[in-house]
């Protein structure tokens, strides 16, 4: 049993390492004149989702389409196009879904601002609740009957003195 589990884990580890080394190998085929350009390329494709394997970026993905799109992005960079031009090119073909960071527009207002709205609502409710609690505590000094009951429980037998001997 343990042997099988080890074998499966080994196979899985091997498969993933082979996959990632393959992605790295294809990335190395892109030649850049400066390190800054290479970093710009990597930053850009890390922000773009591969539509075939949707939880991977163009930087990570081994899908053939991801490779084709890397070639496309590289070509546009070499042609001197700006990052936003390249992103517009991809969005025009594949939609906002290719962006890991969705654009701020009416359809995404709830997505972007919803959490902050909820946070403000929650904080407001919390402040109101705390204030009410403090007020109710301040407004109600302990009553005479409560005091008697308290003394009884504490074993002070009806008298309330400071000397305890």
């Amino acid at each position: 049993m343990i042997k099988t589990v080890t074998a499966v884990l080994l196979a899985f580890g091997l498969a993933t390492s082979v996959a990632s080394s393959h992605a790295a190998a294809t990335l190395e085929s892109f030649k850049f004149t400066s390190g800054g350009d290479e970093q710009r390329f990597k930053d850009l494709i890390a922000e773009i989702r591969c539509l075939v394997c949707q939880n991977q970026s163009l930087l990570d993905s081994d899908a053939e389409l991801a490779h084709d799109l890397r070639v496309e992005v590289y070509g546009m960079m070499q042609a001197g196009q700006a990052d936003n031009e390249i992103i517009d090119f991809l969005v025009a073909r594949y939609g906002d879904f290719v962006l890991y960071k969705p654009p701020v527009k009416p359809a995404t207002y709830f997505l972007w601002f919803g959490p902050f709205v909820l946070l403000v609502i929650a904080l407001t409710l919390l402040i109101f609740a705390l204030r009410r609690q403090r007020r109710s505590m301040a407004e109600k000094p302990i009553s005479a009957t409560d005091r008697q009951q308290l003394d009884r429980i504490l074993g002070n037998s009806g008298t309330h003195t400071d000397s305890d001997s």
């Binding site: 053939e64 389409l65 084709d68 496309e72 969005v91 073909r93 594949y94 939609g95 906002d96």
Partner: protein, 179 residues
């Protein structure tokens, strides 16, 4: 705020969230809506599959309602939908054009010979560059284009008789009725 409402609010919030999540279960994340719908079809000029010396371009297709099917011999789902395409071609409802996507020319030709050819003509997109312009991310995909060259519908994944009868054919009839 009345007392009952205060206790019902969290319940209402929970039901809303549960409803949203339940809806999410039945959505297929693989179906990404195309931003090309309602826009002019992307331009292309490609060699034809059957005759490398002749070209097929978007302007050749303009003027009639037509269907563009993206397919390849390496695509298993394309084989599954092939009979549906043959059926659509037989019905005479529309001209079907093909974009043979990142394929081997010989395999594609023998595929059509063996399984039957529903296409009026095929463009041969060897490097997938035209596929990128059309926003293709997985074959098969099927576009419906109107007389003005506007993309009116995109079906992602294999066509079935059900999709054909319920979505494609009614849409084709409506588009043909447009002047």
């Amino acid at each position: 705020m009345s007392r009952q409402l205060r206790y019902l609010l969290p319940l209402a919030a929970f039901l809303l969230l549960a409803g949203l999540l339940y809806r999410g279960l039945s959505l297929d994340p693989k179906l990404v809506p195309s931003p090309l719908i309602g826009k002019s079809m992307p331009a292309f000029t490609l060699p034809r599959l059957q005759d490398p010396d002749a070209t097929l371009s978007d302007s050749d297709l303009l003027g009639e309602v037509f269907v563009l099917n993206i397919w390849a011999t390496w695509c298993i789902a394309c084989r599954a939908e092939h009979d549906v395409l043959l059926e659509l071609a037989r019905s005479g409802a529309v001209d079907i054009y093909g974009l043979n996507y990142k394929d081997q020319r010989d395999s594609a030709k023998s595929w059509l010979q063996q399984l039957g050819n529903p296409y009026v003509a095929n463009a041969f997109d060897a490097d997938g560059r035209t596929g990128i312009d059309w926003g293709v991310y997985g074959a098969p995909e099927t576009f419906v284009i109107d007389r003005q060259g506007i993309i009116r519908h995109k079906h992602i994944g294999p066509l079935t008789m059900e999709v054909l009868n319920e979505e494609i054919l009614p849409l084709l009839a409506a588009l043909k009725a447009e002047t």
